[in-house]
Amino acid sequence: MSTLPHGATAPDLIDMRDVDKVFSNGTIALRGMSLSIKQGEFVSFLGPSGCGKSTALKMIAGLLSVSKGAITVNGHPAGQSRDGSDIGFVFQEATLMPWATVFDNVHLPLKLHGLGKAEARERVDEALAMVGLSNFATSYPRELSGGMRMRVSIARAMVTRPKLLLMDEPFAALDEMTRSKLNDEVLALWKSHGLTVIFVTHSVFESVYLSSRVVVMAARPGRVVHDIPLATDIPRTADYRMSTTYAETCKQVSTALEGTMTHVDLNH
């Protein structure tokens, strides 16, 4: 439970309590990670490569087990929420079925929930239009570029209209224009649908532009070292990117991130 500004308490959507992750080969990926995320937050994970961002994200989705501690999502232990369509996940790799067309790949989550092709067509088309791939519905993944594959993967995560969206560096392989367009798409969805988003990125600028909160992690062992709340009352427009608030926030987050890098060096 955490306290809202007006004094009432709201249940956290995600609650990580003192979580460790030790892989079977002995790698300690996370140690003592605690984090609470409320309904409707847009949280970015920022941190050096290998600090456990993907691991934490997969654990929240219930795809990796917890070695120690506990993670609850919506009051249930992670991975045991009753309705899987509540979570959308964009993997760090595009992770498409090579034998299926773009349409069938995006249709998959709906198909698994028993929605036939005809009933799902509208929603799949809508998701493909959102990522600008309407003309590629009948293509196979191997016929697409890396960035296009990633966009298919984003469309697939969106097609179920999830309440919690977990994205692992979704825009890393995209050009600046597409990236900024998709940034705005995600923001619009977040605002209009009351989504909760966890967004892993290596871009300080992206995290500051998008999030309501930036979580900075450090490696060896992976843990949270900074938790920076951002102002959400400023509309995220092109003007925001030019504002001094934006520049100052970026600087603040960069400094926090640089701190984690020296941490790593000291550990060697």
Partner: protein, 287 residues
């Protein structure tokens, strides 16, 4: 008069009605793919014919291709009947190998303990030469056709079993995670993820097993040494060797090879038809 334009690269006039040179090259390459092997085979047969004629090799040592062809016609009825028997034996054993291999492969993929318990049996079955087990099988199984079927099945079964089991396990782990995230039922996971992932492995096994089933069918019949009406090409070969009818032996041998080639072409075609649109092994690479 034809319309022409200037090619920016070569600076030469290009006939606009002329087909795309790249398409032409591709078509020529496809034609060569057919012509070259046929021509090479034709040359080899011609050389064979010539050498036999030139050195006056007696037909009971090496018959000329023309004599083999003649034998194929004169003994056509009995040879065709035998070929039909061999085809029946091969296809039936292959079908049973597919059914058995795929079902057991699925069980293996689902349960490690069962795999660990049963895999040794499969390996023993595989590594023991079929010629060595065939006499036993022929003693225990009174129906000769059933005995032959078992022998051919043993040979074709293993590649299908092992490849199916490996293939079903080879699905991308992130895709598996995705199916878990969307709470796919075990049946959905099998149908939409595991089976498609296993298909390339299964197809590779099918190509091997098709040839092995034929080998198994021929070897088993050799061991059985069956004679009479309802027997296969191997019996014709044995029979001809006893009677010193070498041309007939070559004719039967020729039919066995033709069967093998047909099986190979059919399984290759099937593999391309099933995997051609997505799997690396069957995709035509861009030059």
């Amino acid at each position: 008069m034809s319309i022409s334009t200037i090619d920016p690269e070569t600076g030469l006039a290009v006939d606009l009605h002329a087909p795309d040179p790249r398409l032409l090259r591709e078509r020529r390459e496809r034609r060569l793919q057919l012509i070259l092997p046929v021509a090479a085979l034709g040359c080899a047969i011609g050389l064979w014919e010539f050498l036999v004629w030139y050195h006056e090799v007696p037909h009971y040592l090496i018959p000329a291709p023309s004599l083999i062809a003649k034998t194929l016609v004169t003994d056509g009825a009995s040879l065709m009947q035998s070929a039909l028997f061999t085809v029946k034996l091969t296809l039936l054993s292959l079908a049973l190998a597919i059914i058995g291999g795929v079902s057991l492969g699925m069980v293996f993929a689902l349960s490690r303990p069962i795999e660990m318990s049963l895999f040794p049996f499969a390996v023993i079955l595989q590594v023991t030469p079929v010629v060595a087990i065939a006499p036993l099988i022929l003693i225990y199984v009174s129906n000769t056709f059933a005995a032959l079927l078992i022998c051919a099945w043993i040979v074709a079964f293993f590649p299908i079993l092992s490849n199916t089991a490996i293939g079903l396990r080879s699905a991308d782990h992130n895709l598996r995670d995705m199916f878990r995230l969307y709470q796919a039922t075990p049946w959905q996971r099998l149908r939409y993820l595991l089976i498609p992932s296993a298909l390339p492995y299964f197809m590779a096994a099918l190509k091997i097993a098709g040839g092995l089933a034929l080998i198994g069918a021929v070897v088993a019949e050799f061991v059985a040494g069956t004679a009479g009406q309802n027997t296969g090409l191997a019996s014709r070969i044995l029979e001809s060797s006893f009677r010193n009818e070498i041309p007939r032996m070559f004719a039967a041998l020729f039919l066995v090879s033709v069967l093998g080639v047909i099986i190979f072409l059919a399984t290759s075609w099937l593999s391309r038809a099933v995997l051609g649109h997505w799997h690396e092994s069957e995709i035509k690479r861009e030059g």
